[in-house]
């Protein structure tokens, strides 16, 4: 019995415990934070030596399993707002379709890969940095003694805008009243970014739900996984059909690790406080951003890379 396994589409063998372990870690994050993990898994697989195109496509396949498992676990906990998830998904499909066309134009125009990478760095930096600062402030505030007589909070312009929008709908599971226009618009925005970056978009969707839709953190995680599940089903089928880059064996190993990790993550998420979860996710996002930025700045080991992946 060898510890190595041969991947028929990637045309190479990999160290089995390493791939299983990577799947577990990413699944853990998926269950913990409600992100698909694509933003982390794909770079990890490329570091292992998997061709970028195969890494991205096979990763989508394993996210289907991890997010299905995670969605089911959160559904049992009552943490999935299906109504909100469907609005976000509808927006995501519209935005994703537009994003695919945009990336085609970028590829024709020139260096799309650089645009993709720099979009990653900027998005991860903004999202991760904001989450980190905000959640650290929130943690500090929760430890500080409460003020004797807090001044009445002034309604922000954003809140007034949300309240002025038509078709105000009650999202009972999230405990908010909101116009469906907002999740549709934000879903579309995330869809565009997800298509450009080639990921499910969970790591952008989670902060959008928390800060712009103002959903409670425990519902955010389950609902995000629900949305990521559908996005990755679509991506897996399209990648297998159009590019022949889904390595079933690689995905199977990853998903075995990730589904276990997702279940463990879902249990851990219910034991951690929302602010602790946000600090952890922010740290992960910032770390990935730094890694990507460094890879853009350091001299690459080879000046050549097989054309077709990013």
């Amino acid at each position: 019995m060898s510890w190595y396994i041969y991947l028929p589409i990637a045309h190479q063998s990999v160290f089995l415990p390493l791939v299983l372990g990577s799947g577990f870690v990413v699944g853990l994050l998926s269950g913990l934070f409600g992100v698909g993990g694509g933003f982390l898994m794909t770079p990890l697989l490329i570091m292992i030596g998997i061709p970028p195109t195969v890494a991205a496509a096979s990763d989508s396949n394993q996210i289907v399993a991890a997010s299905a498992s995670g969605t089911y676990a959160h559904y049992r906990l009552g943490n999935v707002d299906f109504k909100m998830g469907l609005y976000l998904l509808a927006g995501g499909v519209i935005g994703g379709t537009g994003g695919v066309q945009l990336i085609k134009l970028l590829r024709q125009a020139g260096d799309a890969d650089f645009v993709i990478q720099i979009t990653y760095v900027v998005m991860l930096g903004v999202v991760g940095g904001y989450m980190l600062v905000e959640s650290l402030q929130s943690l500090r505030a929760s430890k500080a003694p409460a003020p004797a007589a807090p001044a009445p909070a002034q309604e922000s312009a954003y809140s007034r805008l949300l309240g002025a929008l038509p078709f105000q709908t009650n999202f009972a599971k999230s405990g908010i009243v909101l116009s469906p226009v907002v999740p549709l618009f934000l879903g579309a925005l995330v869809g565009v970014l997800a298509a450009i970056m080639g990921v499910g978009g969970g790591f952008i969707m989670v902060p959008v739900m928390v800060y712009l839709l103002r959903m409670p953190m425990h519902v955010v995680v389950g609902t995000s996984l629900f949305q990521v599940l559908f996005t990755c089903v679509d991506v897996t089928i399209m990648q297998a059909w159009s590019n022949h880059t889904v390595d079933f064996i690689l995905a199977l190993i990853l998903l075995l690790g990730s589904t276990i990790g997702a279940q463990v993550g879902a249990r851990l998420s219910s034991k951690l406080k929302a602010d602790q979860l946000k600090v952890l996710l922010a740290c992960v996002v910032v770390l990935v951003m730094v890694k990507m930025l460094v890879s853009l700045l350091l001299t690459p080991s080879s000046l050549l890379s097989i054309h077709g992946g990013h």
């Binding site: 019995m1 190595y4 396994i5 041969y6 028929p8 589409i9 045309h11 190479q12 063998s13 396949n61 394993q62 289907v64 399993a65 991890a66 997010s67 299905a68 498992s69 089911y72 676990a73 049992r76 260096d111 890969d113 650089f114 990478q117 720099i118 089903v233 897996t236 089928i237 399209m238 990648q239 297998a240 059909w241 159009s242 022949h244 889904v246 079933f248 064996i249 995905a251 199977l252 998903l255 075995l256 589904t259 276990i260 997702a262 279940q263 249990r267 219910s270 853009l296 700045l297 350091l298 001299t299 690459p300 080991s301 080879s302 000046l303 050549l304 890379s305 097989i306 054309h307 077709g308």
Partner: protein
């Protein structure tokens, strides 16, 4: 398709994924040999099978040549055309600065040399060595020196373990009057792909070519890997849908398995 029909199919595929390696057939026992001009070459195993647990395998070369002669052993894969992104620096960032294409270069090139290996120019004159490959290959690199691009191409292939020259890899032993046997072990890389490879033994007498023997070497996938590749390339849509269904079933099964555990909800 009804659920009762889908589940056994998915189960069969999962089972095949796990048990696939067990189906791997052993290669045929007979060793191919080539003999010409007093050169004898044998390879063991005579056929390389890539199974699910393949992680690179050794091939043993052996044979006979005349006393006082030297042998150089070459294995090369089928030729391919590859398009690369070429990175360059723009400001502080490394980004893709265009496409370059390398045509007619072998997918794999491995060369085993004796301890007293000929110098690179001599190898090139014999039609051997990575330097000689540049003569065969065609580099299309608008705005860039093809020599620089080919050097980067060699580095790329060497880093992947697909191009290698191994000096001192061949050992000799007496094999009767006026004859000597040779042997060498070549470690095939883990990124080997199925196809027909070419093995060549070049014999030198006092540094000059004294004979050459070539034979084909077949590398093939075992049945399960072949099935996966056929599905992925010939029935791509079905393959994609199956991948999703298997992922969904696995996710659901894991969810159910965890339901009964301590702390389950």
């Amino acid at each position: 398709m009804k659920r009762h029909a889908v589940l056994p199919l998915l189960g069969a595929i999962l089972l095949a994924a796990i048990c696939g390696p067990l189906w791997a057939a052993e290669p045929a026992a007979a060793l191919p040999s080539a003999a010409a001009g007093g050169i004898k070459l044998e390879l063991d195993p005579p056929l390389m099978t890539i199974g699910s647990f393949y992680a690179g395998k050794p091939v043993r070369f052996s044979g006979e040549i005349g006393a006082g002669q030297e042998v150089l052993l070459e294995m090369r894969g089928p030729q391919e055309d590859v398009t690369f992104d070429l990175k360059g620096r723009v400001g502080p960032f490394w980004m893709n600065r265009g496409l370059v294409k390398v045509e007619n270069a072998p997918i794999l090139y491995l060369l085993l040399l004796p301890a007293s290996a000929p110098a690179a120019p001599n190898l090139q004159a014999l039609g051997l060595g990575t330097a000689h490959l540049q003569e065969e290959a065609k580099v299309i690199s608008p705005g860039h020196d093809p020599k620089d691009i080919f050097t980067s191409f060699l580095e790329f292939k060497q880093a992947a373990g697909l191009y290698r020259q191994v000096p001192g890899a061949i050992s000799y032993a007496p094999a009767g009057p006026g004859r000597q046997s040779f042997s060498a072990v070549l470690d095939l890389p883990s990124s080997l792909t199925a196809g027909q490879y070419q093995v060549t033994a070049t014999v030198l007498q006092n540094g000059a070519p004294a004979g050459r023997v070539a034979q084909a070497y077949l590398v093939e996938d075992e049945a399960f890997l072949k099935l996966v590749k056929d599905l992925a390339f010939d029935r791509a849509l079905l393959f994609g849908v199956l991948c999703v269904l298997i992922a969904l079933v696995t996710g659901a099964v894991m969810g159910v398995l965890f339901k009964g555990g301590k702390g389950g909800h």
